[in-house]
């Protein structure tokens, strides 16, 4: 059913744990009834619309241990509740991992970046409007996909990885972190685990209800970026309808190591073309040993979108993705 829009928040509880142990304990006790709260920028709309109905919010932003940017022996660690503004402006991130600074600095609007957290940006739910509207589609637990249907309005939807659901990842920072070979640090009352960024996101074939591997009771506490790609040549570009507040139609995050003229290694990752950030390993392999030039870019353009299965209204994403990959390679 289409929910009515209420302009007020529903009557639910708020927990403001001040330390890690309490937060993890609450997360485990409340399970799905407890909504983890970063900056809340992808939370309050859901709640106000009554399209997600948890019983409580667990605010993570009071926990200092999960906030801030620190240098580690082999890279940097970013607390999951660090704001996007802090990330975009951090001198260390700017100088070493400019790719992430750029991606964080282009999210939504200044005010959203001022409170929105890295964790929230990575874990935010898809923007498929049918789903946001509260319709009972597959992802909402129903048994239909409105977007992938003859009359579906699917301009923003996926080229790859469809499995009943054709929604895409909305995050601008996710492709950057996949390109930087980041690791996600996940905690729960039963301990800590680390997952490569690339495996953190899951498509509908594996789990149609969730976009990440996080289980009930688990909290993303930090993101680690190894020095593997520190000071590499980066390219980030996002194409959206508007230049503020708009989700990518396609974005690309890329990192290159070159020696002399030639590409030694590369990471090229696109967002908004699949439910997960799409790493283009074939392209990465094909450009190794070649120069960052028009001819290299043109040679791999088709490869970038090989296997794409456009829907009725998202054909434009094929040339758009190819062009962004070409631009990334050309530099």
């Amino acid at each position: 059913m289409v929910a009515t829009s209420h302009d007020v928040m529903p009557d639910i509880e708020l927990y403001q744990p001040a330390d890690e142990a309490t937060a993890l304990d609450l997360a485990s006790r409340l399970g799905n009834e407890g909504w983890l709260l970063g900056g809340g920028q992808d939370t309050y709309g859901w709640l106000k619309d009554r399209n997600k109905n948890p019983s409580a919010m667990i605010e993570l932003t009071q926990i200092d241990a999960w906030k801030g940017i620190t240098e580690t022996v082999d890279g940097i660690e970013i607390g999951a509740v660090t704001t996007l503004t802090d990330i975009a402006r951090d001198p260390l991130i700017q100088s070493r991992f400019g790719l992430l600074a750029e991606a964080a600095g282009i999210v939504a609007s200044p005010q959203i970046r001022n409170v929105g957290t890295l964790g929230g940006n990575l874990i935010q739910d898809t923007r498929c409007w049918y789903y946001r509207r509260g319709l009972d589609c597959y992802r909402a637990g129903g048994n239909i996909c409105y977007a992938d249907s003859p009359e579906g309005l699917n301009r923003e939807h996926a080229l790859f990885g469809a499995s009943r659901c054709v929604a895409v990842t909305p995050s601008d920072t996710a492709p950057a972190l996949v390109a930087l070979d980041a690791t996600m640090v996940i905690s729960s009352t039963s301990g800590q685990r680390e997952i490569p960024a690339q495996d953190f996101f899951v498509g509908p074939d594996r789990d149609i209800l969730n976009m990440t591997v996080l289980n009930e009771g688990e909290i993303l506490t930090a993101v680690r970026i190894p020095n593997t790609w520190a000071n590499a040549e980066f390219y980030f570009e996002k194409v959206a309808d508007r230049n503020v507040w708009d989700f990518a139609l396609v974005n690309v995050a890329a990192a290159f190591r070159t020696s002399g003229e030639n590409i030694e290694d590369a990471r090229i990752v696109c967002g908004a073309v699949e439910c997960v950030p799409r790493r283009l390993q074939d392209v990465e392999a094909a450009i190794r040993g070649r120069s960052r030039s028009d001819s290299t870019a043109n040679a791999v353009a088709d490869m970038a979108t090989a296997g794409a299965r456009p829907l009725n209204y998202n054909n434009f994403k094929v040339p758009l993705m190819q062009n962004l990959v070409k631009r990334a390679i050309r530099g």
Partner: protein, 195 residues
Amino acid sequence: MNPKLTRRRFIKGVIASGAAATTTAAWYSATGQERPSGFVERLVRINVNGQVRNVDVEPQETLASTLRYKLGLTGTKLGCNRGECGACTVLVNDVPTYACSVLTHSFKNDRIETVEGLESANGDLHPVQQAFVEELAPQCGYCTPGQIMSAVGLLRENANPTRDEARHALAGNICRCGSYDSYLDGVMRAVELIG
């Protein structure tokens, strides 16, 4: 499932955990239960425009709601109530923030400023307000308090912005009347007024 039952079951669980929670006091009195230890009072003290105000704030209450409907500070407007327009922009520790999309309880130790707090004690307008008046920047005026707060936030951080820096700083504020040019003229004039 009956949502009330769910809530009851889970609150019992949480009470046992002894975690800090802000919750509806009325619920406890209705059910005759003890408040969990570490319970955060609904009655909070927040610092708004330099004054410490005691307010009864519901756990889920947005800052915009508290400001407008509890403190009568209706200068902060609600356009979309979804983080999509900027009309509700206030400063929290000098940082422009959408009051519709944050919880009041998150800011118990912070400095909140609304458009009402900008005027000086002797009634002089803030230079940004004065400049906006002189440039006739607002048209309908609905987005104006938000534009002002974003501009004040910018000028505290960068007293001498270029027009382009100003437009990036104000980018999270929609003006449906399309007064963007005039607001930018206003910011540039405010820079001169502040000198």
